[in-house]
Structure formats: C-alpha cells, structure tokens
Amino acid sequence: MLRKNTYNEFVKILSKPRSFLGIGALTLLILLIIFAMKADGKSIISFVTASFEQTLSFNGHILNGYLIAFIILQMLIVHVPLLVALVTGDLISGEAAMGTIRMLATKPISRTKIVLSKFIAGAIYTLILILWMGFLAVIVSQWIFGTGDLIVLNSDGLTILQEQDILWRFGAGFMVAYLALLTVSSLSICLSAFAENSIGPIVATMAIIILFTIIGTLDVSIFDTIKPYLFTTHMASWRSFFENPVDMGTIMESVLILVVHNILLVALAIWKFNRKDITS
C-alpha cells in the first residue's frame, strides 16, 4: 500500500507545473553559467588567481568541465533548496487547501504511511533534480570544456586535484548534497503538516534556510556553539570531498547530523499528522 500511495504521490508531483518549473529553472541557470564561462571564463579564473599570478604562472587546461561543474554546484546548491521546497512544501498543506486531504485520509492506509509516502515521493523528486543537475554540471560541462585537473577555490587558498582523482569526489559530493536537499524536503513536508495553505510552508522553509545560513556565515564567536548543529552548516559538506586529504571525520559528522535532522523532521510530521483534526 505504501508503494502504491508513493506512486500516486509522485504522479501528483508530476501533475503540478511547478515541478517542471524547478527543473526548467535549473536547466536555464546551469546553461547560463556554462555560457558565461565559455564567453568570459578565463577572466573569471584570472580574477581568482590574480593575487598569485604576480609571482607564479599556472600552466595547463585550467578552465575545464570539472571546474565548471564545481562552480555550478557551489553556486546553485544555495538556490536549489528553493526549487525543492517549492514542490515538497505543499505536499500535505496543499491537499488541505484543496480539500482533498479528507478523501486521502479515508483510504485504507494509515496516516503514518500517508506521510511516509509523501516523504518518499518528495525524495524521488529531489533525486531527479540532483541527478539532472549532475548531468548538466558534470557531463555537459565536460562535453563543452573537456577534462583536466581541478582547481578548488577555497577562502583560504587553492587545492589542485588531479584529473584521475576527481570523478569519485563528484559522485560522493552529489550524494552528500542530495542528503542536504533531502533535509530541506523533510523540513518543508514537516512544516506542511502544520499548515493549512500551500505558500506558508514554502516561505517558512526558505526563511529558516536564510536565517540559519546567515547565522552560519556570520563571523561571530557567540554562534560557534550552535553552528555545528544547524543543518545549513552541513549543506555545503559536499565541498569537503574536494579537499586533500579528504576529512572523512567531518563528512561523517555532517552526514550523521543531516540523517538525524531527516529522522526528527519526518517523525515530527508523522506525529503532527496523526493528531491533526482534518476539517477541510
């Protein structure tokens, strides 16, 4: 029953134009970045390496597909949560707003399984989104720019990774990025269980992400104690795979915190939905 309901939920997601709007927007954004890098990528790279170029010369194929993929991932991982929340944010509250939730609750399936099926459908949509992003960022960029060593741009310096040592990092990086987006999906579904309208959980999810991100980026020591527990702190953990050596301890800590967030948020959504007085 869970499988059938998940299928139904996924069909519902696909029937919404906004689901394709997200994929379309992502495609447009990535193609725009690729076009910009093709047109003026060298000057952008030069801007980054300028402080070194007085003394050193960087030789080789620097502007390659891997670098473009890294830049795309870095730029868009901040914005993709909006596209996820746009779809998953009204999975429960949208039904309440449309009045279909009462009918849904009369089906021979427990409320827990209803929430779980919505969560799984949201997870599948998020997976499609990240796979599409990965295809455009890594495959299309490689096709246009070719391959080569990757210069990773950190705020404290450069790490140069060899070509043969990159693809697995992207694979692992996308997996952690997916887990981070799944947390956004869980958060919005959880908020959706508390709301009766479509737009509220979407806006609330974005507001929480923005607030946590601002706290995370503020260089104020008073926030140091809470930063490690904010899920937004771990949303960029995929970057750790592009350090040398890879700090697996930090990555596993991030994965653990994101998994705990997902479990707690889904549990909270189930708890709330089971006690929800469906009147719409």
Binding site: V48, Q54, T55, V78, G148, I160, Q162, T233, A236
Partner: protein, 226 residues
C-alpha cells in the same frame, strides 16, 4: 705620483673586465643551446596552495621563446626559468661587477652582481654565483619590479656541457593570499577560528630530464595553443 693615480683610477675597470670575462664564458656556454625540449617534474610547496607533483614538457628557443605543455595543471615561477638567459645574452643592457668568492655545496663560486643599465628593464638586480671552473651558474637571486625576489639553486648532471641543469629549486616570495569570499563561498565554515598559513616563502622544485638539445624546434610550435 701620476702613475699611481692612473693605476688607482683604472683598477675598478680592470675588475669589471675580469668579471665580465667570467660571465662571458658562462654566456658563451649558454649560447651554444639554440633550442631544447625537456621533461619536467614540478613539486610545489607554496603557502595556501595544495598540489601534488605534476609533469610537463618545456620547450625553449633562442632568444626568448618558451612554452610549457602539460595535461594537468603545473605551477612554475613567473620569472627565473629562462628570463635570466635572455637577459644576459644582451651584454649592452647591463653591467657586471665581481664580488666575493664563497662555497656552495663544496663548490667555489664567484659572486657576480648584474645591474641593468636601462630604466625600463623588468630586472632590478641580479646576483649570480658562478662556478668559474665549469662556467656554470650555481645560484641566482633575481629581483624584479613586479615579482619580488626569486632565488634559484641549480644542480647539474649530464647536460652540464650545455649549462642546462638537471634540477632547479626556486625560492619565491608569496604575498598573503586571500580569495574574494563571494567567489569561494566556504559556507560550511563551522567556527570563526582561522587556519591561515602564515608562511610568506614558498619553494618550487623542478627536476629536468630527457633533454633534447638543438633539434631545430620550429617557431610554429610556440604559436600553437597548449
């Protein structure tokens, strides 16, 4: 008295002529190489840059054609690879003054200070430590207008007869490196604690092998994009 005065006045010129002669021997040896290609392995230890050893092929042709071909990313010093040879080849552009003798790795070397005569030269000052017995440059310290000071130590192998080194170690000044945060948004920074590398000196070790000298490299090779 007149003779003594003449000797005192001419003494510095005699010294200058001697140092030029030593340098001339080095330049003559350097000029026997019209072109070369060489395989290089580069190990860079530079503050704020993490890079594994990388390989490349370097092409050089008199007077100043230089090209690096590599599949991966290779970091080399901006100055110091071939510029000094090019600079020394035009004797009208500098003045050479002989300094002290000393020992570097057990080899007796003569310090020759090279001062450019023109205003528009990129090189401000070059110090060369020359092994006069083999007419080889053992160490250089070049100060340029835009790149600071680069010290290079040379080791020679089979190609010493052409004054081509088998190993070069560059010591370079690296200013504090900071990327714009908008470009390198490290948003998973977990605390305000910084992990800056305080070093301002870096080194690049270049091992050179498989020299092919005077094979008649075409100019077209240097025009092609690597």
């Amino acid at each position: 008295m007149k003779t003594l005065l003449s000797i005192l006045l001419l003494l510095p010129l005699v010294g200058l002529a001697q140092s030029s002669a030593k340098l001339n021997k080095v330049i003559t040896k350097l000029n026997t190489v019209k072109d070369y290609s060489v395989d290089v392995e580069v190990k860079a230890d530079i503050p704020m840059i993490k890079i594994l050893p990388s390989k490349a092929k370097v092409y050089f042709k008199q007077k100043d054609k230089f090209k690096v071909v590599s599949k991966g990313i290779v970091i080399l010093p901006k100055q110091g690879f071939s510029e000094i040879n090019t600079f020394l080849s035009d004797k009208s552009k500098y003045m050479a003054i002989e300094g002290d003798t000393s020992k570097i790795a057990g080899v007796v070397v003569q310090l020759i200070t090279v001062i450019p005569s023109g205003e528009d030269n990129e090189i401000i000052l070059a110090k060369l430590w020359v092994d006069d017995s083999r007419s080889l440059i053992i160490k250089t310290q070049i100060t340029t207008k835009s790149n600071g000071t680069v010290t290079t130590n040379y080791t020679y192998g089979d190609m010493a007869k052409f004054a081509l080194p088998s190993k070069m170690v560059f010591e370079i000044d690296v200013k504090k490196f900071k990327l714009p945060k908008s470009v390198a948004a490290d948003i998973n920074q977990r605390s305000t604690e910084k992990k800056d590398d305080k070093r301002t000196k870096g080194s690049i070790t270049v091992n050179l092998s498989n020299y092919k000298v005077n094979t008649g490299l075409s100019d077209e090779l240097f025009k092609k994009k690597s």
